[in-house]
Symmetry: C2
Subunit: 446 residues, 2 copies
């Protein structure tokens, strides 16, 4: 992929840049509507609105500036061009860690169709590398396009496909794995990979973006840099999710794969660790590890268990909800339920007889809370104790979404003949940091 | 209800108190394990652990102190006994606002069975008044026991029963209504009452507690005081939920009834306003109103619409979930669905044909997000636009739980023959602050 001197610029804007003898990589100053911007001129996509200039600011963040009649542009200094070219071929870089970027789709690997305003998955991992050239300084990067999926379409078979791909590259000896993934179901996939790839010898980092990478406000570049740096250098072998900690660009949180959910539809800091803190932060080019219970990089404890059984179902309880739906689903072949109950893990009393029937048939019923934060405790109130007697398994502080993924994994690994006691034992065993029988101390953000 | 001088104290602790000539209401000092406590000696329940003393600290908060061998107790000053007696009969208090406390159950109206450790609903509104005597200084209180329910057992008919009771007392001319309610489903009930009792002439305040009122760490008293003060004095006629803002006792938040959920299983500050801020705070005896779009107290816009139809269903989407469940439920009579989709409002593409079938049959399908915070926007990605074409109605920034309650209310009010367009119009119309088509500006807590 060549990078001409003004790639992506056309029309009036291109003329203005040419007049000032500016090319991509130069440091420039733009004054527009009374505001002054200083930064490095970046390449753009051909399809983008021709009236915008993309600048990389000194904080590493890209912004888009609309060029109007009153806009003036001047060159401050010529850029070191190679920095904005396709990174040199791997053989010219020695000593850097090997990182594989596996692209599965999502906003981080998508671009806006300017005519329609819609976002489509389009960029492959090579493209990402071309627009975030800093990556070449962090690691020797290889790329693989595995899927091109909106993450709402990621299914259990894709979790298995991703696990297989990661396992393949682990055996090829990479120093770290990055998976680009849509944010919608990235938490579910992170949990699935945490169970399928236990105690891996290298970091496995899922990364997404809330704004597509050719939008000026995109978080794609900063998230991807943190993900690649973590994959390359982190001292742990864990499945993590790399996303903005705050609204601003300065800190990227590395969330444990079994503790993370998307808690905001659109904010850059949409991802949160629940009932746990992120295990590390990436800030100013440095990775700061804060958890002390991590599997060390290079450990020999790696276990690969990529089986899942889809016949598990997550039910969110609500007032006046009829329990018959559980029987109907069980009759259709569902082997286990996660009930997202209220408060400490409750459903209305009229659910008790049907739940007892299910567990007597060997169908697993686990309880989590729709409160998300905190833990279920079914010993406090009569309702909880009646549910326990009916065979419900309280899943401590596990997220509902993670509990569902773990149940699919448990059913897949134990196979058809598995008994309730076996399933319960595995569901309550901490496999990848997903369940703690005691809470962490209260923190400012719970 | 008599209050003997050392009610609830027995054994060694009672002897110690008698030796020092201490009775309930006295200010005392306790030194135990090197720590010093000063406060007013409170009455206790007979069944409580006899080795504890309950002190009311100067901040109004009750704590329990275990009496050990090295504990010393001394009297600082004799208390003004009447303060801890049953409040004087209403006729002796003139000029105070009239507040009705309607008890429906929950932890705030419960006590711990110390033998079993379980919590049972037991206290009625009179009991609450007896243990929180400060209430008598705020308002002339009447009490009514409507239900004694754990809130996971609250059903649609109870919402209707509560609406009827509140409407009855509004017509009797009370200055404010307080409903004690279990916390598990208090958010759902608050939404239901917000739709059933629109623009009421007086405040309607739901209040709960995360710890039962005879536990030393109970939040019952502080929440109840704030609730009664709000009912008595607030300048607005709105349905609100009064619960701790922080972990500490100093601020109680008044959440808008259509914007509040329980987001932690056990923390005192479990309740949060979502996509909105609390409309007021109660602190140091003062109510500070922060919202500026409130229905004023005494307004003539009151509308009473207590109809609900239970044939609505909330579905939480997850990866590999089969859409058949929607058809099964529709065949069983469900008139409308709220889908808690991913991210901006998505489900996997294989759901589109079944959803189209449902909407063609006149069944409502509304979309919210399992992210909770933020709003759905189905115009950004192909999946969203396909769902829109299939007839899905995006419900902006409405909480899933509130959308479900509103759908039940909409179906109940429009009746059997209602067409999809009518339902859609009402679902998207802002009735009680539940839906804003534009976001509030970003705040520190979203």
């Amino acid at each position: 992929m060549d990078m001409p001197e003004l790639q992506g610029y056309s029309g009036i804007v291109r003329k203005l840049l040419e007049q000032e003898n500016i090319s991509i990589g130069d440091e420039i100053e733009i004054i527009s509507d009374g505001r002054k911007y200083r930064g490095i001129l970046m390449a753009r996509y051909e399809l983008a609105d021709p009236n915008y200039i993309t600048l990389k600011l000194s904080n590493g963040y890209n912004i888009g500036i609309r060029v109007a009649e009153n806009t003036s542009i001047s060159k401050i200094s010529a850029g070191a061009k190679p920095m904005f070219m396709r990174p040199p071929k791997p053989q010219t870089l020695s000593g850097l860690p090997n990182v594989i970027i596996i692209s599965t789709g999502g906003t981080i690997a998508s671009r806006v169709e300017y005519r329609t305003g819609a976002v489509r998955p389009a960029l492959n991992a090579d493209d990402l590398l071309a627009i975030v050239p800093e990556l070449a300084e962090i690691a020797k990067i290889d790329t693989e396009v595995l899927y091109s999926l909106f993450s709402e379409n990621v299914q259990v078979q894709h979790w298995i496909g991703m696990a297989e791909a990661v396992d393949h590259f682990i055996h090829k000896g990479v120093d770290g794995v990055v998976l680009t993934h849509g944010t919608d179901t990235m938490g579910y996939t992170a949990a699935a990979l945490s169970f399928a790839l236990q105690k891996p010898p290298v970091p496995i980092v899922l990364v997404g973006a809330q704004r597509s990478s050719d939008r000026p406000s995109s978080d794609a570049a900063t998230n991807l840099i943190a993900a690649v740096a973590t994959a390359a250098k982190a001292p742990f072998g864990e499945v993590v999710v790399a996303m903005h900690k705050w609204h601003s660009d300065d800190i990227i949180a590395l969330h444990r794969g079994t503790r993370v959910i998307k808690l905001h539809t659109s904010s850059r800091d949409a991802f949160r660790s629940v009932n746990s803190r992120p295990i590390a932060y990436y800030q100013h080019g440095e990775l700061k590890v804060v958890a002390n219970d991590l599997n060390p990089r290079g450990s020999n404890n790696y276990t690969y268990k990529p089986k899942f059984d889809e016949r598990a179902f997550l039910v969110k309880f609500f007032p006046s909800m009829k329990p018959d739906i559980l029987s109907i689903l069980a009759d259709s072949g569902i082997r286990g339920f996660i009930i997202e109950g209220t408060g400490l893990g409750h459903v209305s009393s009229d659910w008790v007889p049907i739940i007892r029937e299910l567990t007597e048939r060997g169908i697993f019923v686990g309880m989590t809370s729709q409160c998300k934060f905190g833990r279920v405790n079914m010993n406090v109130y009569d309702t909880g104790r009646d549910l326990l007697k009916a065979g419900v398994v309280p899943l401590d502080d596990m997220l509902s979404e993670v509990a569902l993924v773990k149940l699919m994994w448990t059913l897949g690994n134990l196979g058809e003949g598995a008994g309730l006691e076996e399933i319960k034992k595995l569901m309550l065993m901490n496999i990848a940091g997903e369940i703690y029988s005691r809470s962490l101390p209260n923190t400012d953000s719970w």
